[in-house]
């Protein structure tokens, strides 16, 4: 379902590309459409998702929420270790795979993240990053309905991630259960970000461009695993464009 919705969004974004006017950032030629989707996401987040996430946080005790987050995080580590290997990072790949083994067994199905405590910290990898490491350029920035910031490349990566998702793989014959798992994961992720959104609210003059620029920087940082080369743009008073 998510995949179908995403494809629709991509087609929409693609067909509108011709008529969208360009704003300030050259990475964002679809700014007009993106702003509209951003406003929609924002509204959905305010009226629906944030209240649910707040309720989730109010009702469930902390240890339970951490356990739920760890459970999904452990499933995700399988695909993360595959992406490590696809990027040629065999050391990280074996570390992340060890995390899965360790947390699934000693961590009782991933509910406890013991691996982090013994010096195997979690990594962040996905197929969009793998494509980036392979040299695929990001293409224009897009805001996906419900899923938020992405780029053309990362949207494609996101579709692949969705197919590789263990929730999707393992629960393929019980759609209602799968949807419950999808929903729980989404709420758990959102609940973890509640503090961050109050900071964002305070930080940004224009939330749209703030989120976009922060997200693009973060993505670049992830692809270079925390050590991006200095951009020319980092010099103090270099013009942005």
């Amino acid at each position: 379902m998510a995949v179908k919705r995403l494809c629709a969004a991509l087609i929409l974004a693609g067909s509108l590309a011709g008529c969208a006017t360009s704003g300030g950032n050259p990475a964002d030629p679809l700014e007009k459409v993106n702003r509209a989707v951003f406003a929609f996401n924002d509204a959905a987040d305010k009226v629906l998702i944030t209240p649910v996430a707040k309720g989730y946080r109010a009702v469930l005790p902390g240890f339970l929420r951490t356990g739920i987050a760890n459970f999904f995080s452990n499933l995700e580590d399988v695909w993360i270790s595959v992406n490590d290997v696809l990027q040629g990072k065999f050391q990280e790949g074996s570390e992340d795979f060890t995390r899965v083994i360790f947390n699934t067994t000693f961590g009782i199905g991933g509910v406890f993240d013991f691996a982090s405590d013994v010096g195997l910290p979690k990594h962040s990898e996905d197929f969009g990053q793998t494509l980036g490491v392979w040299g695929v350029t990001s293409g224009p920035y897009v805001v996906l309905p419900f899923f938020g910031p992405s780029t053309f490349r990362d949207s494609f990566g996101f579709v692949v991630d969705g197919r590789a998702d263990l929730v999707y793989r393992l629960v393929d014959d019980d759609v209602p259960l799968r949807n419950v798992l999808y929903g729980t994961r989404a709420i758990s992720n959102r609940a973890n970000l509640l503090d961050a959104s109050s900071v964002l609210e305070q930080a940004a003059l224009d939330r749209y461009s703030f989120v976009r620029d922060a997200w693009l920087q973060r993505r670049r940082n992830q692809i270079y695993d925390g050590n991006p080369p200095r951009e020319k743009d980092d010099a103090d008073d270099e013009p942005t464009k």
């Binding site: 704003g23 300030g24 950032n25 707040k54 946080r57 109010a58 902390g62 951490t66 987050a69 760890n70 995080s73 406890f112 993240d113 982090s116 405590d117 910290p121 979690k122 990594h123 962040s124 973890n192 509640l194 503090d195 959104s197 109050s198 900071v199 609210e201 305070q202 930080a203 940004a204 003059l205 224009d206 461009s209 703030f210 976009r212 620029d213 922060a214 920087q217 973060r218 670049r220 940082n221 992830q222 925390g226 991006p228 743009d233 980092d234 103090d236 008073d237 270099e238 013009p239 942005t240």
Partner: protein
């Protein structure tokens, strides 16, 4: 006599040392002090952003170079602003960052911070202090990097990167489009208006 002179030299050297602690030591000391202050302060824990802002003003602000931060965020528009406007922009930007930081502080939970060994030569006057926050389980550690410069008054921070995202350059496009549409004065007005809004609220008890 010789001993007294030797003593004096050692004393002066250690005083100079005390005035300019190494950048990584400085970051760690301040972070520890602020964390300890929050731990003691029930008001901040309960979401008092005004009190958090006071703490930031006292402990953190003196170690930042807000003029340079504003200059980086303004990029080429910095040179088109008058010295008076530059001063206003730096002051408003400072207020905005302090308020943002105070919103983050009231949500602070005790977290373990690792400092990476400083990779710098003694003669370097710009360094990056790298640290990593380890949240309790399940989530990836978040890197916090401080870009620092050596000044006659000790090391000053001019950029903070959280998970690779710069607190300063993230404002570039916003500032540039404000200036393009409404001029330097328009940007100063927007910043001032933003700073007059009621402070951010605590997201909720956990």
């Amino acid at each position: 006599m010789k001993n007294a002179l030797g003593f004096l030299v050692v004393l002066l050297a250690s005083l100079a040392q005390a005035q300019t602690p190494a950048p990584d030591v400085l970051v760690k000391t301040i972070t520890d002090e602020v964390a300890a202050a929050i731990k003691k302060d029930k008001d901040i824990q309960a979401g008092d952003t005004a009190k958090a802002a006071e703490l930031i003003e006292a402990k953190i602000v003196p170690h930042f170079n807000f003029t340079r931060m504003a200059r980086i965020a303004m990029a080429r528009n910095w040179r088109t602003a008058t010295p008076e406007q530059q001063k206003q922009i730096a002051a408003e930007f400072k207020t905005l960052l302090v308020r943002t930081y105070s919103t983050a502080l009231v949500n602070y939970k005790e977290e373990k911070i690792d400092y990476k060994p400083l990779r710098a030569k003694p003669e370097d006057d710009e360094v990056t202090v790298k640290s990593e926050v380890r949240p309790s389980g399940g989530t990836q550690p978040v890197s916090i990097d401080y870009e620092m410069e050596k000044t006659p008054n000790g090391w000053k921070v001019y950029d903070v990167k959280v998970g690779g995202v710069s607190l300063v350059t993230t404002y570039r496009d916003t500032f540039a489009s404000e200036v393009r549409e409404r001029g330097i004065e328009g940007l100063i007005k927007s910043l001032a208006a933003k700073n007059r809004e009621p402070a951010g609220q605590k997201a909720g008890k956990s």
